[in-house]
Structures are given as C-alpha cells and as structure tokens.
Amino acid sequence: MKVEQRHWRPGEGWNISGKEHLAGKADLVLAFGGTAVLDDDRSLEALRIQYPDARLVGCSTAGEILGTHVTDGTIAATAIRFDHTTVKTAEVTIRKPDESRAAGRKLASRLEKQGLDHVLLISDGQHVNGSELARGVQEELPANVAVTGGLAGDGARFQRTLVFADHAPREDRIVAVAFYGAKLKVGYGSLGGWDPFGPQRVITRSENNVLYELDGQPALDLYKRYLGEHASGLPATGLLFPLSIQAAPNERELVRTILSVNERDNSLTFAGDMPKGSYARLMKANFDRLVDGAHGAAADASLLHSNPELAILISCVGRKLVLKQRTEQELEAVRDVLGPKTAMTGFYSYGEICPATPNANCELHNQTMTITTMTET
C-alpha cells in the first residue's frame, strides 16, 4: 500500500505534498474540497488525468485536512495504491430526508458482499437523515463489515453540499467505497469532547429529525436566547450548542447538531433523530476535551496496528467553529498518536459515521472527530 498527497490552492493549482512515488498508478483517490472550488470540475479533471485507473471519490467540506493543516477553499487529494486490496464504488441519489433509510439499503445492496472488508460512506450533508442512512446501510451489510464516513460540508453556510464518485460533484448524492481483501487492516475511533450543561429538558414535540418543542416551549427560542447576538448566525452558530440526547435515564447519550432552521414554524432540523420523550441537554465545547477527544479517537483507531499508512479524519464543523485558530491543535494531537509517517487527510463535516464501539453497528455522530486508519499487512 502506497499513498501520495496533493494540494490544490486557488491561483497555485496542484502541488505535491510530501513524496511522489505512485507514478500515476493508484486504485483510489480521495479528494475533499471547498464547494465553490468543486463546482469548477477542471481542478478534478487534472486528478483524473494524473491517476487514470483510480476511482475518484470525494465531497465538499467545511475545511480540508491535509496532514496537520486545515484549509478552506482548496482541494486535498490523497491517491492510494493497494497491493492486495480491491476498491469498488456504488452511489445513489436522494431527494428527501425521509428516503434516507431506503437510500442506505439501496446503496448497500449495490455492493458485492463477497470478501467485503470495510465501507467508507460519503453522503450529501444537507438533505439526509444521517441516523436513518447509517441504519439502512447497516441493514444490508454482513454484521462483520464496519462502516465509517461522514456527511459532506459547505463551510459554515449550510446551503449545498456536493459528493462525487468519478463523475462531476453533485448535490443529493451518496457514495459508498467498498474495500475487498484479507490483508487490509482498518481501524476506527470516534470521540467528542463536548459537555452537556444546564437543565435537562424533555423533547415534547418532534418529527424524525425535526425538533419543535422542548418542555413545551419552542426549541428555536431557546437557542436564540443562549446564542444572544450570535443568533443571527444560525444555523451555523447553532453548532456551538449541540444537543445531547438520551432516550431514558442511564441510557447512552448521543450528540445531535443543527443542520437548518425554520423561522416559520420555529423548528430546528438536526443531523439525526430527535425522538419524542427523550431527554435533551444543551452541550458546549470544552477546549481541552476537544483536543483530548481527537487524541482518544486516534488512539482507538490505532489500537489494532500502530503507524498506519493512511488516516482519514472526518471532524465536525462545530469543532472548527469553536477551535477557530486552534483547529490544527486537534490534528496535531492525532499526529502525536499516529506518528510522523502516517498520511493524514479528511475534512470538516456535517456529521460523522462510525460504530460507537468496535463491532457495534455504525451510527451517526455529531461534533466528533472520527478517524479511519488503513494499512495492508
């Protein structure tokens, strides 16, 4: 397994990052870029020419990760050549969020199951119920196949997200990259670093991933009150206060982040289910814990094999909004764990997909750093 990375910057075009040793021969190229940049397909065309045999897969982001650096409005590309692993892709189009589960099933059903080892899932970030998508995909896959991935981003704009597999980037697409081969070792980990605070509230009115009322009061009003002058920046500023959802006392807490706001009916759309009757608490970032979370996710991902060849980091846009100039600190924390040899790429997302614990079903996370590591033995 060999990896080489390139970076596209406006006005500069493509530059190699690190050593160049694939000579154009790659099985898979992962490319993550700004929405506006990806709209112009010419930048991707250069990659197609550079790696003619590779599947070219990627999405728009809220920040591109290459090594320990975060950039906006660029393209971070990572070409991978496997020695023993085959890569296949499948994709579906989704029109409405309530089709998410069916779309997940359809997508997974298009994948060859024989010898399937791992699935990397990259989805539209605006029109998908990530929880349902993860559920649908998992339903159609053998239990031993893990799924990791994330929802595409659009900076802090929350307007349109793009996904592609070979074709030009488009909205409403979901792509699965399937890895086949006994010698591929995949590790994964996902950690947050957000703390619930303030009173516990009950979700009194909701519909799937749309939240209307907490404790009988409009949920949007609550957010506006807490955000104060930042309320005008909704929905992006809503990322500062994700919700911790608990189905019942002593149950595991899930983190949910805002995707969009509807002023007309005072509702908030979240990236995952908001079951009625669940307990909800506002969460806030804790600087040190965000960085510790990234560190922990990396440690989990490298449990099976240290110093992996490749690490795909999918981190929530909310972390970037909080960490601001210090965003790279969480990437450095990951680097500290993985070591200097691992090629790191990825993006800031609108949702992360990963099993909560090894061997569990994959599910949607929000506000986490989710890391997938790959090595061939």
């Binding site: 605070f197 303030g198 516990q200 006392p249 600087f287 040190d288």
Partner: protein, 456 residues
C-alpha cells in the same frame, strides 16, 4: 511559548528562528496573555461544569420525587383536589378526573363553577372558605353528589388547609372517598338488625304468653292432684296406684318444664325477679341433696356431700336451690346405676364454690361450650330418660350470673364423668346485701371457666 502563538509565528515567519529578536519581549507578553486567557476560560468552564452537574443531580432527584408523588397521587383510593380560594382546581388526580367525567387537562385551572352545577359548586366553595378562614381541617363531611352522568354518590370528604411555603393558607386540599357501597351495606345491615330485633321480641313475647297460658290450667291441676293423692292414699290396687303415680310424676314434670320456659323467657327479655337475702350455701346444698336422695337411692347411685360451713352469700334461696336441683337432676339423669355423685361446697378467694361431680357419661369436648346455651341437650346414649326442654342449664347460668357469679363445666370426655361448678361472691361480715348487676370476672377460675376442672 503558547502553542497557538507558536503556530501563528510559524505561519507568519516560516519558522521560529526567523522571528526578529526585538519582538521577543512582545512575543513573551502575548504568550503570557494567551495563557492567562486560557486559565480564565478553564476556571469559567469548571464553574459551569460543576453547577451543571449540581443542576442535573437536583433535577434527577426532583424528577424521581415527582414521579413517586405522582404514583401516590394517582393510585390513592381517593379523589384528591388542590383548590385555591377562588374555587379553582389547581391539581387533581386521575380518580378525581374520572369522577368528574373529564380528562385532567380539561379540569386543571378551571373553576368549580364552570364544571359543575352552581349550587353544588357553591356548597363546596363555602366549605373551602370555612377551612381557609379557620386554618383548621374539616373532616368527615358525608354528603351526596351527582356524578358526571347524574347518578348520586355518597362521599366522605376531608378538607385540609393548603399552605404555601411561608405557611399562608392559599387554598384547600380535598380528599374524597366514594362510600356509596359502604352506605348501602350499612343500610342493609340496619334493616336486617331491625328485623332481627322484632323477631327476638316476638319470640320472647310468644314464650312468655305461652308459658303463662300453660300455667293457668296447670295450677288447679297440681292442686287437685295433691288433694287426690291424699284422698287416694288408701288405694290398694297396685295397677291404680301405678296409674296415679304416672299421672302425678308427669304433672310435676310438666310444671317444671313450664317453669323452665317461663324463666328462659324472662331471662331473654331481661332479668329474673330475685328475692335476695343472706343465706348459707351449705344449707342450700344440704336441702337439695336431701331432696334428691331418695331418687339416688332408687337408681343405686351413691350420693355424697361435703360442705364447709358457713358459706354466707347474698342470694335468692329458691333460685339457688333451683340451680342445685337442676345440676343434681342432670347428674342423676346421666349417671348409670352403681355410679357416684359428689357435691362439694367450699370457700376460695372470697367465693363460695359449689360443684356437682358425677361418674356419668361425661360431655364430649365439642359440646361443653354449647351446654349453657338455650335449647342445648347432651345426647343421652342410654335413652333412659325423657328429653328435657334444654333450658335448665341456660336458666341456671342466668340465675348464677344475676347473683354476680359464674358457672362452668369440666369433663375429661365421654364416659369420664363431668363436674358442673358455680361460684358466688362470699358475703363479707357486716356488709350490706347487694347483688352485682353483672357477673364479676373470675378471680381464681381459669381463663375458660366452662371447661375448667374443679379445684376444691
């Protein structure tokens, strides 16, 4: 150096070595400022975290408590209402809502004037205001209310002042229980009791009248029989003599039966008339033994008697003689030929205790308790005697108890003989002659006097 500053300097100057030396003091100050800001933020985060934890714990404890209260509130077997002084329902439980025929949500916050007939609401409000004004609970209000469908229900209501956290009365808490069923059961019971009382009264009256009516012709018959006995004393024909003896015995027997019935009837309706005087029980025993001696001899039964003298009691000699005669007649009746009857009269712990012990057929353990009830008969396996009224022991008990005494029986079982005893309070020398209205508690007798053996 603060990590963020380091990154910023690298990004600006390429590497740290390229930072101009004259900026060193500034870099140092900025780095310190970053670190101080971090420290301040960490402190704030810690405060927020701790207060949030505390808030959550309180919230969870409160929710648990609320849940427990809700469970009690809704499973209590009573209609519970919290009301304010304006007759508004602040809170009510499920039972309360069900009784009013509407869901809780439709009743909470509503005035009683809006959800029930005005006169009923007014009555409830007046009660409430009384409790609010006095600050005292009003308990056990029993009244009838129509339910949602108009059916009247009896309810028992307790109203207690509803005080806020400062102790001020801000309304009432009402607990109501539907007692319609209970009320109906009470009425049924009362009616049954009235009917029973009438029956008892009728029976007593019937017995009384019958006994009197029977005695009226019996008195001249007895008199004529005595006269006849004297007149016919010279009769030599054994057939005729035997015939007369049968007639005479049966007249006396009939007389005794009628007396028993009359006594029993008097006992049932109250008391027997007593003529109380100072008397020696030893003498009463002596007289009774003397009376039955010929019959004992005739039945070849040994009759023994031991008495301490004197045993002074306040009593009616005729009635106490009747008790003894009764006990002796029973003993004779149930003791076979060759048996023995022992009569003792002793003083013990301030009482005269008189016992009639026989070697007869005894009493089965299960029957002892019923012996002193009216119309009870000990089964006579020998079938040698005619059955009595079953009133003798009942009347005896009545007489003894009216003298302030007790009567009881002990038998070790069938064919083990039996002992009937009674005790009367001894008269203290010089004390006035008064008979206790009620039997006093036995002093030395065992807990169940009717089965107690004699302890002479």
């Amino acid at each position: 150096m603060h990590k963020l500053l380091e990154r910023q300097l690298r990004s600006h100057f390429g590497d740290l070595a390229s930072v101009p030396a004259e900026l060193a003091p500034l870099v140092d100050a900025v780095s310190r400022a970053y670190e101080e800001a971090d420290g301040d933020r960490a402190l704030l985060e810690r405060s927020l975290e701790l207060s949030s934890q505390e808030l959550l714990q309180r919230f969870q404890a409160l929710r648990k408590q609320q849940n427990e209260q809700q469970v009690i509130f809704n499973s209590a077997p009573a209609l519970i209402f919290y009301k304010d002084t304006e007759n508004r329902i602040l809170r009510l439980n499920e039972l309360g809502a069900r009784a009013m025929g509407r869901p809780i949500a439709e009743l909470e916050g509503k005035s009683c004037y809006d959800v029930m007939p005005h006169d009923v609401a007014k009555r409830l409000h007046d009660d409430d205001l009384e409790v609010v004004r006095s600050g005292q609970p009003k308990l056990g209000i029993v009244e009838s209310h129509p339910d949602a469908s108009g059916v009247d229900h009896w309810v028992r209501t307790d109203k207690v002042p509803y005080r806020d956290e400062t102790g001020k009365v801000v309304g009432v808490v009402v607990f109501s229980q539907d007692i319609t069923e209970q009320k109906k059961a009470e009425e049924d019971l009362k009616a049954a009791y009235r009917k029973l009382e009438e029956l008892v009264k009728f029976r007593t009256q019937f017995l009384n009248t019958t006994a009197h009516e029977l005695r009226t012709p019996l008195t001249p018959i007895i008199l004529q029989s005595h006269l006849l006995r004297d007149a016919l004393s010279h009769l030599s024909d054994p057939q005729q003599r035997k015939g007369f003896e049968i007639l005479d015995r049966n007249i006396r027997r009939l007389d005794s039966l009628v007396r028993d019935v009359l006594d029993a009837a008097r006992l049932q309706s109250g008391r027997l008339p007593l003529r109380v005087a100072e008397l020696d029980m030893a003498r009463v025993v002596g007289d009774a033994v003397e009376t039955v001696a010929p019959q004992a001899e005739q039945q070849h039964i040994t009759l023994e008697s031991r008495s301490e003298r004197p045993l002074l009691v306040a009593g009616d000699p005729v009635r106490l003689g009747q008790v003894l005669t009764n006990l002796l007649a029973n003993a004779l009746k149930f003791t076979p030929e060759g048996g023995k009857i022992t009569v003792t009269a002793v003083a013990s712990s301030g009482h005269a205790i008189v016992s009639v012990q026989d070697t007869g057929i005894g009493v089965p353990p299960g029957q002892i308790a019923r012996l002193f009830q009216p119309f009870s008969q000990v089964h006579d396996p020998m079938q040698t005697t005619a059955p009595g009224t079953g009133l003798g022991l009942y009347v005896s008990r009545g007489i003894v108890e009216q003298h302030g005494g007790n009567i009881w029986c002990y038998s070790a079982g069938p064919n083990a003989g039996s002992t009937f005893s009674f005790r009367l309070p001894l008269l203290k020398p010089g004390a006035p002659i008064v008979v206790a209205e009620k039997p006093e508690e036995p002093v030395m007798a065992p807990a169940t006097p009717t089965t107690a053996p004699i302890r002479p």
